[in-house]
């Protein structure tokens, strides 16, 4: 357990006048600072040897409508060296919502700040390219401000639109204006937003010199569906289905992260058996996610057969999820304070049987791909990025581990029962696309190992906490006892009410650190429900990875980043 007292006292010592106050709530260290000193403190946080916060995880804002100053900027940091975390907060007034940009210190701040600008209208001084990222330029206002009505739409076409929409030619900000081959002009090409290889909706605008990429700009946001606004408008438990739809290829992991964040807010822990069931569900989800990534990569590099193998293997993993909760994709399996159901009968045997077949299929697909010279040529040595640069971008997960950085939250900050399990964390050495592919392949096998161990070790007992403030009482009791009836009624109509406060909780999802930042004002609805999703940060370096490479290298690189639209665009 990191020592927050020591951490906070170091920070107070280093920048005493800039710090307004520090606190330590539910294990989260928080520092509130004067906004004008942000850049200076951030530099200390990054460069001080004892602090060494090299990973800027998240930038967001909370709108305290009616308070002065109105907006609170929230930064989350992580240190890959010391494995400690910090939350930094600074308030800016509505009359001048401006703060320094952190782009000079972390390139990854670029998109995060653009998002905060888009959603809250905060201006970042010194930001190189402060455009909207999720919404379109025609959009007026900032939707996550509390005074923006949830259902106020501003359509571009169709009913309610102004009818003046005209598509704009694609722009690349800060494009290098070099001359191409033989003095010819560069060619501007758009990949997407509806392109078979962008199996999410993303547009990559490129300047090509022959086949070489000179400039690239990745435009995301086509699938921005208002995750935060939806979550803030419902009770805590009503947000769970929306978390399914963040990373829809591993929905249970997203559920687990969210429910554990809410439990952290309440300060409760689920019983041991419940934790095992969560690990089992989560790891099967991870298997399905990696299978999809591997299969889609094969497909897009024109290897159709391995794709079919991977897809059948994913069906087998989904059969297990189906047995757990009756759904295949959007599982909605985990509950605040437990899971929706215990393991079904005969689950261990079903797992054994399906895993056996999955491993066979994966071995076949692996052989077909790794011994294929075309596949190797397109993966090996392609899109290498140094670990330092990846960290500066805020990249986590298999992408970072492929570059040799040993950061897996299941190991670094074991949650649930991961500290009792025996599994390997595969690391790459080159950091090229092939390493990324192999890391996922190995992780998939490790996940199978984890599930098998869990099925052996799982103890009997309840899966849910016995707390009427969190979990619905069993139906038999609701119908027969007045007290349980009231509990059920209150929970459904008022929602579970955590104490006021705020927490950040992160798990290792299939693509990296998936964190939830929740602010409670004591009511049944989250005041702020923010998901720090790995795809968002992982997609950001794409433009830099492919610059100077061939057009064809975009496809394998994009596949290995495994951008999932729902997770990236939220």
């Amino acid at each position: 357990m990191p020592n927050n007292d020591r951490l906070l006292s170091i920070i107070r010592g280093r920048c005493a006048e800039a710090v307004i106050r520090t606190d330590d709530y539910r294990g989260d260290a928080t520092v509130v600072i004067r906004p004008e000193r942000l850049l200076e403190i951030a530099r200390v946080l990054r460069d001080d040897r004892e602090l060494a916060f090299d990973l800027l995880l998240d930038v967001t804002c909370v709108d305290y409508l009616g308070q002065q100053p109105r907006f609170e900027l929230v930064y989350h940091f992580y240190s890959t060296r010391h494995r400690h975390r910090l939350r930094l907060k600074a308030r800016v007034p509505e009359s001048d919502p401006t703060i320094d940009s952190l782009v000079p210190l972390w390139v990854g701040a670029n998109w995060l700040e653009r998002e905060t600008y888009d959603m809250y209208g905060i201006c970042f001084r010194g930001h190189p390219d402060l455009r909207r990222i999720y919404l379109y330029e025609e959009f007026e206002g900032h939707p996550l401000r509390k005074d923006y009505p949830k259902e106020k739409r501003q359509p571009l076409i169709g009913p309610g639109s102004k009818g003046t929409y005209k598509p704009r030619p694609p722009e690349i900000p800060h494009a290098h204006r070099v001359e191409g081959m033989l003095g010819a002009e560069l060619m501007r090409v758009q990949l997407g937003p509806s392109h078979p290889a962008t199996h999410g909706t993303v547009r990559i605008v490129l300047d090509l010199d022959g086949e070489t990429i000179v400039n690239a700009d990745v435009e995301i946001g086509y699938l921005h569906r208002g995750f935060e606004k939806e979550c803030e408008s419902g009770f805590y438990y009503q947000a769970i289905p929306y978390t399914d739809r963040l990373n829809y290829s591993s929905a249970i992991l997203c559920n687990v992260g969210y429910c554990m964040a809410v439990e952290k807010l309440f300060g409760v822990e689920v019983p041991l058996r419940g934790q095992f069931v969560r690990v089992i569900g989560g790891e099967i989800s991870r298997i399905a996610d990696h299978l999809l990534c591997i299969g889609a990569t094969a497909l897009e590099l024109n290897a159709f057969t391995p794709f079919l193998y991977a897809l059948e293997a994913r069906e087998l993993a989904w059969d297990l999820i189906n047995a757990l909760c009756g759904a295949r994709v959007t599982s909605n399996f985990v509950r605040i304070g437990g899971v929706s159901a215990d393991l079904p009968e005969g689950f261990a045997e079903l797992c054994q049987q399906n895993f056996k077949r999955i491993l066979e299929l994966v071995a076949d697909a692996e052989g077909m791909l790794l011994e294929n010279p075309v596949f190797r040529a397109r993966m090996e040595g392609v899109s290498i990025m140094s670990p330092e640069r990846l960290i500066a971008y805020g990249v986590t997960g298999p992408l970072l581990r492929a570059a040799g950085v040993d950061l897996d939250l299941r190991r670094a900050e074991p949650y649930l029962i991961y500290d009792q399990l025996d599994f390997d964390v595969p690391l790459g050495s080159q950091g090229d696309n092939l390493d990324r592919f192999l890391v996922r392949l190995t992780e998939l096998r490790q996940s199978i190992r984890i599930v098998e161990q869990c099925l052996r070790l799982i103890p009997p007992g309840p899966v849910d906490v016995d707390d009427p403030a969190l979990r619905l009482p069993p139906k038999g009791r609701v119908f027969n006892r007045m007290e349980d009836m009231i509990n059920q009624f209150k929970l459904v109509t008022e929602g579970p009410k955590p104490p006021p406060g705020e927490v950040y909780f992160a798990i290792e999802s299939a693509n990296g650190e998936l964190g939830y930042y929740l602010v409670s004002d004591g009511t049944g609805k989250p005041y702020k429900c923010r998901a720090r999703t790995p795809s968002f940060s992982n997609t950001q370096p794409l433009a830099e990875m492919v610059r100077g490479r061939l057009l064809a290298d975009i496809v394998p690189t994009f596949d290995m980043i495994n951008m999932i639209g729902g997770e990236c665009d939220r």
Partner: protein, 195 residues
Amino acid sequence: MEMVTKAPGSVAGGFLARLRAATGQPLADAEAFGESFLLTKLADAVQWARKYSFFPYPFVTACCGMEYMSTAGPRFDIDRFGAALPRFTPRQADLLMVVGTITHRIAPILRRVWEQMAEPKWVVSFGACTSSGGPYNNYAVVQGIDTIIPVHLYIPGCPPRPEAVLDGLIKLQERVQRERGGQRIPERHGSGRPL
């Protein structure tokens, strides 16, 4: 399912007999074919060919795409129904499958893809989001694609299971079979009014 072609044998035989009686000619050539030919209306045959050779354009944006892949994959195998080969250019496709949430930002792109497809074309709204906005009712999401393009078939589910998709496809095929010349199957637009 409606029978497309009239079976040879009795029906065709009866037809030949009547033809012979009407013309008074021996019709030797026709008889030589025996039972090896079919009689149908040209329009039936065209629609039959169309319904079993859809070229879908998968406009895939979100979670529903996971089930779209499964439907195309080995276990559910949409190829059995003649709709396997996706075309990623709208000019070669005749079935627009809109799969996944459509936001206001991507709506103009969807409409453009639809406009670029040649007639005859059909639109399938795959999943709750495309049919009504699904779980999302906020500033970002279009409340049903039928507010911006016409739709011929809605498949419910969030996401629909592959069985539901195949069922939907078969229903669409039945309707396409009944189309005639200028008479297209009814499409829906906006508040559910036929266009």
